[in-house]
């Protein structure tokens, strides 16, 4: 068993129309995980600012939420990443714009930069709201990667904490593994191959799931769905189609400059953000 408890949750806050919604969401999540919330504001300290934050968070403080407000002047991304390591934050919440601007994609948006640089797990909220919206259905990737086992375990921990009803583990089977289909014969062959791959994937995922403590699996419907498509991208599409509330993904293995020019894997999801996305470090 290897899952990280979220003891400390951080959120970057700025004075935007989304401020209340962001703080409310973060506070609710922190309460769920029994964690301490750290509000990170990039900028100089001022009493006025502090007062606004305290005001906004007060209903949750009354419910027993421990929180701290940190002011850090400097470049947004660097400052936030710095606070994350200083305060040993386990989960960083970022409010994102639903579909990032085309131009911003190349200039690099703050949310995506943080995702790349932050040493902790990152939760991207596409639609923070003041009202509570339950997280019913979680989709988690079952990619054949080292990190996957940890991610799936973490997903169950999160699902348990958020009282989700269903987890769907998606195994992505890449197109390269299947022979090209040209006629009936190759189609037959490919169909058999696919079936074999599908079974192999299901067994692999089942092995991971069986290692998870039963307590975390309580009241959760577990489904697994193999999909055929472009790695990393199709799972976002699936989450959208399956109307998932949260998509949990492995952290990217490494990103080079080239990756930013030719979007792949997580990049696709980050540009389109089909649902809230949690990236597990």
């Amino acid at each position: 068993m290897s899952f990280t408890h979220f003891h400390t949750i951080g959120i970057g806050v700025t004075f935007s129309p989304n401020l209340t919604a962001n703080i409310f969401e973060a506070s609710r999540i922190a309460l769920r995980f029994n964690a301490r919330l750290i509000l990170i504001h990039v900028g100089e300290v001022s009493d006025e600012k502090k007062e606004t934050f305290v005001q906004t968070i007060s209903p949750f403080a009354a419910k027993g939420l421990h929180y701290e407000i940190v002011f850090k002047p400097g470049k947004p991304v660097d400052s936030i990443v710095q606070v994350v390591s200083e305060k040993k934050i386990d989960l960083l919440i970022v409010g994102a714009l639903k579909r990032e601007n085309f131009l911003k994609y190349y200039m690099g948006s703050i949310a995506r930069k943080i995702t790349r640089k932050a040493p902790c797990s990152v939760l991207l909220l596409i639609n923070p709201s003041v009202e509570k919206i339950p997280c019913k259905h979680i989709v988690v990737n079952g990619l054949e990667q080292e990190k996957t086992e940890h991610t799936i375990q973490e997903a169950f921990y999160v699902a348990h904490a958020l009282e989700s009803e269903k987890i769907t583990i998606v195994e992505e089977i890449s197109q390269q593994e299947i022979a090209a289909i040209e006629d009936d014969k190759s189609l037959r062959k490919a169909t058999l191959e696919k079936e074999k791959l599908r079974r192999r994937e299901v067994i692999r995922v089942n092995n991971i799931v069986s290692a998870i403590p039963d307590a975390h699996k309580e009241n959760i419907v577990i489904a697994s769905q193999p999909i055929f498509g472009k790695r990393g991208y199709s799972i976002g599409h699936f989450a959208q189609v399956a109307r998932a509330d949260l998509l949990i993904m492995n952290a990217p293995q490494k990103t080079k400059f080239v990756d930013r020019l030719f979007p792949h894997d997580l990049e696709h999801i980050l540009t389109e953000l089909p649902t809230d996305v949690l990236i597990i470090q």
């Binding site: 037959r188 599908r198 498509g229 199709s234 699936f238």
Partner: protein
């Protein structure tokens, strides 16, 4: 997906049928090959060489099943340009190079190439080719040989030629023009005459036979010279030995020149598009529901083209018209293509001198008709019914092709389509932002029936249709597929048309193909694309009943039946009948229901062949949905056609003690023992004492009809009476 069968045994049992079919196809291929070659200004024999080389090589190496290969209509335009600019020897070398490119395309798996072009642009290009053929040959058909600059000038000159015919003073020319017009009439009315003896010989061959007969009539009976001007007779058909001794040497002298490579690319592009479209269309007709390996076929076509070029032949492409004739005559594997080539060789060896008795106007009439079918007003009406913007794309491609050339034409069509798409979606960002994204997700649902679910995002047009196609091709056709466009902002006509093709194939092969999520698009009305107007119904039926329909209504009241004039939705009850195996049902309407709804008389509109070889036929039929299982069989009158079929491998099942019945009827079916049991004395007596009908069983229902045309009121009554009584006999 069909299970593996013992291939060799299958091959030999179906060989007679394939030989027969290959023979019928060769009857068309001969005049068409000569004509297409002449239209391209190549020696007439070049077309035959292409057909022979193509038939032999593609049948051995190809990846499709029932296609026929040879010189193609589409190639005429580009070949004409190649031959006029490069000379015939130069053109042969261009043909050889295009063969090499085709092989490369095959190895690069570019079988999807044709999917990158908007369908209206392809239609426009084909229509332009049709007009090029029609425009040029029309004059020769009316014995007025012209040399003009552009293909458009030829079209403009048509009225003048028609008027000119009436001022001919030379009798020889008048005869030539009359032969042309008569031949054209044969082509036009051939499909309308559904007489089986007449239809045994294809229309082009009738023209050849009649004109050769005409020439002999003058020579032998009247003992006078042929009245048709000698300059309008087919000339330059070498004998077999001459062909072998006079193989031209391709001239690679222009290898480094720009026009050479333009020709090579045009030849390759058109050859691959024509072949790929044909293969796709023919796959829909294949009664055995096989899938062709297009890449393998491309390689084979390329190799055949190289061979043909070296031997003095034209490009080898897959041709739709001849392929559908092949399917209609029972061709079931590649041996039919091979046999068609062998018969062509035989014709040339035995009859090459007879061929010079064919008048040119007769041959050109065949081409004029083919050209007309490619650019018929019906086609334009169909495109217009899909949407005005499609017409714009169509005409852009058509006119640019006519005035400039084919490559520019198709490029203009693509650009026009894209501009229209941008106009409809109010901007380019939707396309630019998403064109590289893998926008198609497919997975097999783990719950329920395990249907394949396909979700398409962003947009789906000719630009990225191949991604969707790649996914759909990975699904066996007997499965269920749901394509969901609810996340997709824009779907174009090309995609809708292609999906419609998938729908047809899936239903034919026992699967199900559903398109969902487009309702919203219609409601948005931001893009008034004719997405759901793709299949224009026979809407006038609802409002305005014809006289026949009113009479049908009266019959319905008279016989206590229910009458429905409009089309019925579910046509699949016809699919499993042998009769419809190589035909496509278009609509069923004018339905008369028996009170208990298991019996119905209806008019069915179906088509044979695809594309330009498509013939629409309307027939009145009677359908009985039986409560019990019966063996599958086909029963028809014993006659000339059936004797011929028997020769081609079908077997008549004799019923013991009823020699009269066996003599008069032709009974066909797979399970001989069950059929013999089923045909009891009562049933046999019933058939013996009643008028002839074609009766067919598909295991749980019966289909009865008389002629391949719509029945009159009296005939409907007789058919109904026969059907009901047969039903009672079978039930008892």
């Amino acid at each position: 997906m069909s299970p593996k069968k013992s291939n060799i045994k299958n091959f030999f049992t179906s060989l007679p049928k394939n030989i027969f079919s290959g023979f019928v196809v060769s009857l068309i291929a001969l005049p068409l090959g000569l004509g297409l070659a002449m239209a391209s200004e190549a020696p007439p024999i070049a077309g035959i060489i292409a057909a022979v080389v193509g038939g032999i090589m593609v049948s051995i190496l190809g990846g499709s099943h029932v296609t026929i290969t040879g010189p193609g209509n589409g190639m005429v335009g580009v070949l004409l340009v190649a031959i006029t600019t490069l000379g015939i020897e130069g053109a042969y070398s261009a043909i050889i190079c295009s063969g090499v490119l085709l092989i490369i395309l095959g190895f690069l798996r570019m079988g999807k190439l044709a999917d990158f072009f908007p369908s209206s642009a392809i239609q426009g290009m084909l229509a332009a080719i049709g007009l090029i053929i029609l425009g040029k040959q029309f004059h020769i058909m009316l014995a007025n040989r012209l040399t003009l600059d552009s293909s458009f000038d030829y079209l403009v000159a048509i009225p003048k030629t028609v008027a000119g015919v009436f001022t001919y003073e030379n009798n020889a020319l008048i005869f030539a023009a009359i032969v042309g017009v008569l031949s054209l009439l044969i082509m036009v009315f051939y499909g309308k005459l559904r007489n089986k003896y007449f239809q045994l010989v294809p229309a082009p061959m009738w023209i050849v036979l009649l004109s050769i007969g005409f020439s002999y009539y003058y020579e032998l009976v009247l003992q006078s010279p042929n009245p048709i001007a000698a300059s309008y007779m087919l000339s330059g058909v070498p004998t077999a030995t001459e062909i072998v001794s006079e193989i031209p040497t391709p001239d690679f002298g222009l290898f480094a020149s720009f026009p050479f490579w333009i020709s090579v690319f045009s030849l390759t592009l058109i050859a691959s598009i024509e072949s790929l479209l044909s293969i796709k269309a023919v796959d829909k007709l294949d009664p055995q529901k096989r899938r062709s390996n297009v890449n393998k076929d491309l390689k084979a076509l390329g190799l055949a083209t190289i061979g043909s070029g070296f031997l003095g032949g034209l490009n080898v492409v897959t041709v739709i018209a001849r392929s559908s004739v092949n399917v209609n005559n029972g061709g079931s594997n590649r041996s039919a293509n091979f046999v068609h080539a062998l018969f062509l060789v035989l014709f040339i060896v035995l009859f090459s001198t007879q061929l010079t008795r064919i008048p040119l106007p007769a041959l050109m009439a065949i081409l004029v008709y083919t050209g007309y079918r490619l650019a018929s007003p019906a086609l334009i009406r169909k495109i217009f019914s899909i949407g005005k913007e499609q017409l714009l794309i169509f005409f852009t491609t058509l006119f640019v092709t006519l005035f400039v050339d084919i490559i520019t034409g198709i490029v203009a069509g693509v650009i026009m389509t894209f501009i229209i798409h941008c106009f409809i979606t109010k901007g380019v960002s939707l396309f630019i932002r998403n064109v590289m994204k893998p926008n198609v997700l497919m997975y097999k649902e783990t719950t329920g029936q395990g249907a394949y679910y396909v979700s398409v995002k962003h947009f789906c047009t000719f630009l990225n249709y191949y991604k969707l196609k790649q996914k759909l091709d990975a699904v066996p056709e007997d499965q269920d597929v749901v394509v969901d466009f609810s996340l997709c902002g824009f779907v174009d006509h090309t995609v809708m048309e292609n999906l419609h093709g998938y729908q047809e194939i899936f239903t034919k092969r026992g699967g199900h193909f559903e398109i969902i999520g487009l309702d919203l698009h219609g409601a948005e009305s931001t893009h008034p694309f004719a997405l759901r107007r793709l299949i224009p119904g026979i809407s006038f039926l609802q409002h305005n009943l014809t006289r026949r329909q009113n009479t049908l209504k009266e019959i319905a009241d008279d016989y206590h039946m229910e009458y429905q004039a409009s089309e019925i939705e579910d046509l699949h009850f016809l699919d499993s009948f042998r009769f419809f195996a190589s035909k496509k049902t278009e609509s069923v309407y004018n339905v008369l229901y028996h009170p208990d709804h298991r019996l119905k008389v209806f008019d069915v509109d179906y088509s044979e062949g695809e594309f330009i070889a498509k013939e629409n036929v309307k027939t009145t039929m009677f359908h009985i949905d039986l409560e019990t299982k019966i063996p599958e069989f086909t029963l028809d009158r014993e006659g000339f056609m059936e004797k011929l079929y028997a020769f081609a491998g079908f077997k008549d099942i004799p019923i013991a003690n009823h020699t009269d019945f066996s003599k008069r009827f032709y009974l066909l079916g797979e399970n001989e023992k069950e059929i013999k049991q089923f045909f009891t004395d009562d049933l046999v007596h019933f058939f013996e004492s009643n008028p002839y009908y074609h009766v067919e069983s598909n295991g749980d229902s019966l289909l009865i009809f008389h002629k391949e045309r719509v029945a009159g009121v009296k005939e409907i009554k007789a058919l109904y009476d026969f059907g009901v009584r047969l039903w009672k006999v079978i039930k008892s």
